[in-house]
Subunit: 212 residues, 3 copies
């Protein structure tokens, strides 16, 4: 395992947990990581600098994670996902295999993502990286998207740049850039340009427009 200079690892953390395949994979974590209690990170994942985890976060093998990323307490990041820079995934989230999260995405607590349309399909169960079935698709969250608390994203759904998913939204179809969606099933209820900042820190239409 490579752990960058200036990193902190708290009690009961498990780093470089062995995986069966590929057997020679290693865990690489950049500088100034802060790994909180009970965090488990498997071998075969590569993480940039300034990485932080909450207590009991769990990160499996095959992930590529950028710089300045935070994975919250109890959150589970399964295998083989790609996460950009400046991403915040809050506590109690579930992120399945083959999810793609671009730069500056913010994901609230208890968000759920999925990647199989019809589990436990026999074809899915036989999956490996070489022969991945065409139905196995994680969500794609484009740059600056915001996922509200407890939102659920169905397999393969694309969330557009700076789009906002309301708390508890059940998102079954693609969301356009800068759209605001809410409900079960989620429907578009506006755009981020129309949002109001009740205490008046921002003028109408300015919220989220600073997002990269």
């Amino acid at each position: 395992m490579n752990l960058g200079q200036g990193s902190t690892v708290e009690d009961f953390a498990v780093l470089g947990k062995p995986v069966s395949s590929p057997a020679n994979s290693i865990l690489s974590i950049g500088r100034r990581a802060y790994i909180r209690c009970g965090t488990i990170i498997y071998s075969g994942t590569t993480i940039g600098s300034d990485f932080t985890t909450g207590d009991y976060a769990k990160i499996r093998e095959g992930n590529t994670i950028g710089n300045n990323v935070s994975i919250g307490s109890n959150t589970i990041l399964e295998r083989d996902s790609i996460i950009g820079n400046d991403v915040r995934i809050h506590s109690n989230c579930f992120i399945p295999e083959h999810t793609r999260i671009e730069d500056s995405v913010w994901i609230g607590p208890c968000a759920i993502m999925t990647n199989v349309l019809h589990p436990p399909c026999l074809i899915f169960k036989s999956t490996d990286l070489q022969t991945r079935p065409r139905c196995l698709k994680g969500p794609i969250l484009h740059r600056g998207a915001v996922v509200g608390a407890g939102a659920i994203i169905l397999p393969g759904v694309e969330i557009g740049e700076r789009a906002l998913l309301g708390a508890g939204a059940v998102v079954r179809s693609d969301v356009p850039a800068e759209a605001v969606v809410a409900g079960s099933p989620a429907r578009q209820v506006g755009t981020i340009r129309a949002l109001i900042c009740p205490p008046g820190y921002y003028a109408k239409g300015e919220i989220y427009t600073w997002r990269k």
Copy 2:
């Protein structure tokens, strides 16, 4: 504690955690178990062969669990439930007391089940196994049922054989065999015979029909 041949127990797991009643209960786990980091299993539960847990799974006392069952990371299985063979319960789920899960059920991540209609009813609070109140009813999931990610099942609701609960469904009433339900509250939107496999691995009507 009895732990079958060929089993693996990872770091920080706690097996046979004592319970107050009955004081002489033991934990029994069959062959080839794989107990991942930080899993906690209380005394007084009986588990078949080929059992696996994710990291930080928690299983309380009084459960009877069949062969080839998987309990995912962070999932909580409370007391006194019955789980059949070939059952997969994914990560971050909550399964309350007195739930019955039959063979070949598949439960997605972050599913929630409940067992008390009006908590914290004083009568419920006095419950024990001998004088269990008539209102305390866990869900019943019949053979081959599939529960989507983040679905919620209300107390005592029965899910029919091979029925499918969509992601985020809030299920307040019984679901017929092979029905597909979705929404909040959940309504029947079809049957598994009408489901389509977008990549074409199965003909229309063949999805899930291989389920036992």
Copy 3:
């Protein structure tokens, strides 16, 4: 750290985890606490007597918690909240900063509360206790409120005395005392005075009326 007489602390618990600010803060827990496996409680929180946690509960700094409170397994209580007496928070819940929970509130499993209207607002990100932005508001749960499993409460929403949030309710606006709400978004569907006890332990209108 002060830990009251008659307390029990199980394996892998971390009590008095250091916090950066204020550096001299301590953790104080009253008599007869029962702290289960893997629970993490940070410094700078004050807890009354007869406190219990489930396995892997997590409680951060700056909280004030009354007597006879229970925090369930995996539940996360963030910073700077106020919790009254006789409160039960079940498993897998997420309670954010600046939440106020009054006496005798009952919160079901997997409930989610939120405190920021437009995360990750730059103003919110600069927050500290002295210059807290006006938009950062946790929910307020008044005495005797009941939160169903998996319910989601939006920032700053007030839940009236003895009100009942149905399982999976997504609560976007204030709930009157004794109201029953359900759905996504949650709408009032009745009052607790009209609830029926199916097994007949209580006459119509008597359910919950015993609540303080």
